[in-house]
């Protein structure tokens, strides 16, 4: 019966006689490396962190209240604005939850398109994160620019398919909105084919870099038990050795057809989180190659479905997918009317932040920034 293992923030400083010299610094909400409007009240003893309280709410727009006054279809474009880096996985999470709530089946080609776009989003998100992580560590822009160069190629694919680079609004309940234009699949195969070149370049540039290893190994260690207790999900949990990838656990969509493995870390520090995302990108490439090879022809949405007047039968459902940042869940309660009675988003970023203080205690200011970078938060999702 393990009692609550809260971090014991030291109100007094460890060395006696330092009390009056504690320096309370507020990092954020306008801070270059908090990945959005996120504030941390940090109490420093010299350079070491003694207490850290995150402050949220700067980007809170009450997405759930808006959804209660919108129809089911009306909330779909708002899900793009949750985790604005990976809009397609948000769409898929919401569409999956509504399909499971209303019992709608999805045609084959749409399932393949969903897997392709989701894995491309995972590549995009992990590449961006590695770039941001190294930007926080001071490598002035070079790794970030390499990551963004790759991201541009993928965003062009999304624009050609859905019409918008980041706000795709592509999934519908029962399939996808529009089929791939001519030549899109070949272009996608080309982008996926020369993505490993970028990964090797990144690996040579930074993976064995001594300064990076020095800055990240042994920093912000997250134990497996704390990860489970705090429901940490995504690459951050797998870096602590928790083998819990929802693509393997729930087998949603058609992930069971693809052979891919789940990388697991053993130390659970920032270096492991960084490497797990690196290896996950290589696994996603395997999925993409298989999916792009045997995507069938056929309808992308059941032709009889009408865009308006969608009323699921009363009931409730919690559907979830493996978003690049972790387990993205949608809890919908329907009372038979076109608007959901209750619409709840389970944000992986916010819940992964529960342990931020545990990770940062004892480290110094430079590490707080690196640890926050490794948690990979996006404020659109944290504050909803």
């Amino acid at each position: 019966m393990s009692t609550l293992t809260l971090p014991t923030p030291l109100t007094t400083s460890p060395e006696p006689g330092h009390e009056e010299r504690l320096l309370e610094v507020s990092m954020g909400p306008q801070h270059p490396s908090t990945h959005g409007v996120f504030r941390m009240n940090v109490v420093l003893d010299g350079e070491r962190v003694v207490r850290l309280k995150p402050v949220f709410g700067y980007l809170h727009r009450n997405h759930e209240k808006i959804a209660e006054n919108e129809t089911y279809l009306g909330s779909m474009p708002y899900t793009d604005r949750l985790d604005y880096i990976c809009s397609l996985t948000n769409n898929w999470g919401y569409a999956l939850a509504v399909e499971q709530l209303a019992g709608i089946t999805v045609p084959e080609r749409a399932e393949y398109l969903r897997v392709i776009t989701a894995e491309l989003t995972r590549l995009l998100n992990h590449a961006c994160l590695l770039g941001f992580l190294l930007q926080d560590m001071g490598a002035s822009g070079t790794p970030l620019m390499y990551a963004f160069r790759e991201r541009e190629k993928i965003l062009d694919l999304f624009e050609a398919l859905t019409g918008a680079r980041m706000m795709c609004n592509y999934m519908r309940f029962g399939g996808c909105r529009v089929d791939t234009p001519a030549g899109w699949l070949d272009q996608a195969r080309k982008v996926v084919a020369d993505f490993p070149k970028f990964l090797d370049e990144f690996e040579k540039l930074l993976v064995s870099n001594e300064i990076l290893m020095e800055r990240t190994q042994g920093v912000g260690v997250l134990s497996r038990e704390l990860a489970i207790a705090s429901a940490i999900s995504g690459p951050m949990a797998r870096a602590s050795g928790l083998n819990y990838d929802i693509r393997k656990v729930d087998n949603y969509g058609i992930y069971s057809r693809f052979s891919f493995r789940v990388p697991l870390g053993s130390h659970g520090d920032v270096y492991d989180r960084y490497m797990i995302r690196f290896l996950e990108m290589r696994e996603s490439l395997k999925i993409l190659n298989e999916a792009l090879r045997d995507i069938p022809a056929g309808p992308i949405i059941d032709p009889k479905s009408k865009p308006r007047g969608f009323r699921p039968k009363p009931g409730e459902h919690y559907g979830r997918i493996e978003a690049p940042k972790g387990e993205l869940g949608f809890y919908l309660i329907s009372d038979g009317s076109p608007n959901p009675y209750r619409y709840r988003v389970r944000p992986p970023s916010l819940i992964n932040l529960t342990v931020l203080e545990d990770l940062c205690l004892g480290h110094n200011v430079a590490d707080v920034v690196v640890i926050l970078g490794s948690v990979d938060i996006v404020l659109g999702e944290v504050d909803r």
Binding site: G57, N62, A229, S230, E316, Y318
Partner: protein, 223 residues
């Protein structure tokens, strides 16, 4: 491990706890378990330690307003017809109000035997907004993941979790007094807002700035 087995085992091992299964008509049939407030922490700890539900992934607040149900029922009533009082079938509308309540739903998963969501529901006795009727036991001591999510439910619904290590507002600013996600929440009219083309918004805007102090907004939008 289906729900009835869980319920029986819980009732056997925790004497006096009142459990109830709420059926879920959705195709995925995620039936949920309602626990009474005072045994909640015991039940939760048992679920975590013995039934391996160690991953509380989602905490949601739901608000059910009291509902009036009016249904027509046939009732025999003596009514004075043309030739004296007689029994007659007359359908009469009877209003029954279902008491509203605030509810917190915990979705539990198990990382060891990878079982699906077990929704655990905690309900407040009624919906009148007094402090003691809106308190529920916090499950943060059992699952650390509920810490921020329970703060959010407190912030947006007003449910007070006693036993929570650091119950503050999560999303709204601290001086905010109301709880926006409640069904009967009326959004305040005093913040300055963007006049848009829609009439009711324009009307409210003009009413708000009736004293003419508002921004210089041309009459009737961009006609």
């Amino acid at each position: 491990m289906d729900l009835t087995a869980i319920q029986s085992e819980l009732e056997k091992s925790i004497p006096g706890c009142r459990l109830e299964i709420v059926p879920n008509p959705a195709p995925a049939a995620q039936h949920s378990l309602v626990v009474d407030a005072d045994h909640a922490v015991l039940v939760a700890t048992y679920l975590r330690d013995f039934l391996h539900f160690d991953y509380c992934s989602n905490v949601t607040g739901v608000d059910f307003l009291p509902k009036e149900l009016s249904e027509k029922i046939k009732v025999k009533k003596t009514v004075d017809g043309p030739n004296g009082p007689e029994e007659k079938e007359v359908d009469e509308v009877r209003k029954t109000t279902i008491p509203g309540y605030l509810e917190v739903v915990y979705h539990l998963f198990s990382t060891t035997n990878r079982t699906g969501p077990l929704p655990l529901r905690l309900r407040t006795p009624n919906r009148d907004l007094t402090r003691e009727s809106l308190t529920l036991p916090s499950l943060t001591p059992v699952w650390r993941s509920c810490e921020f999510q329970e703060r959010e439910v407190y912030d947006l619904f007003g449910i007070h979790f006693d036993g929570h290590p650091d119950l503050r507002r999560l999303l709204m600013w601290d001086e905010f007094t109301d709880h926006p996600m409640r069904r009967d929440y009326v959004d305040p009219d005093d913040y300055e807002y963007e006049p848009t083309a829609h009439d009711e918004v324009l009307a409210r805007h003009r009413a708000h700035y009736s004293t003419g102090a508002g921004p210089a907004f041309p009459e009737g939008g961009g006609q």
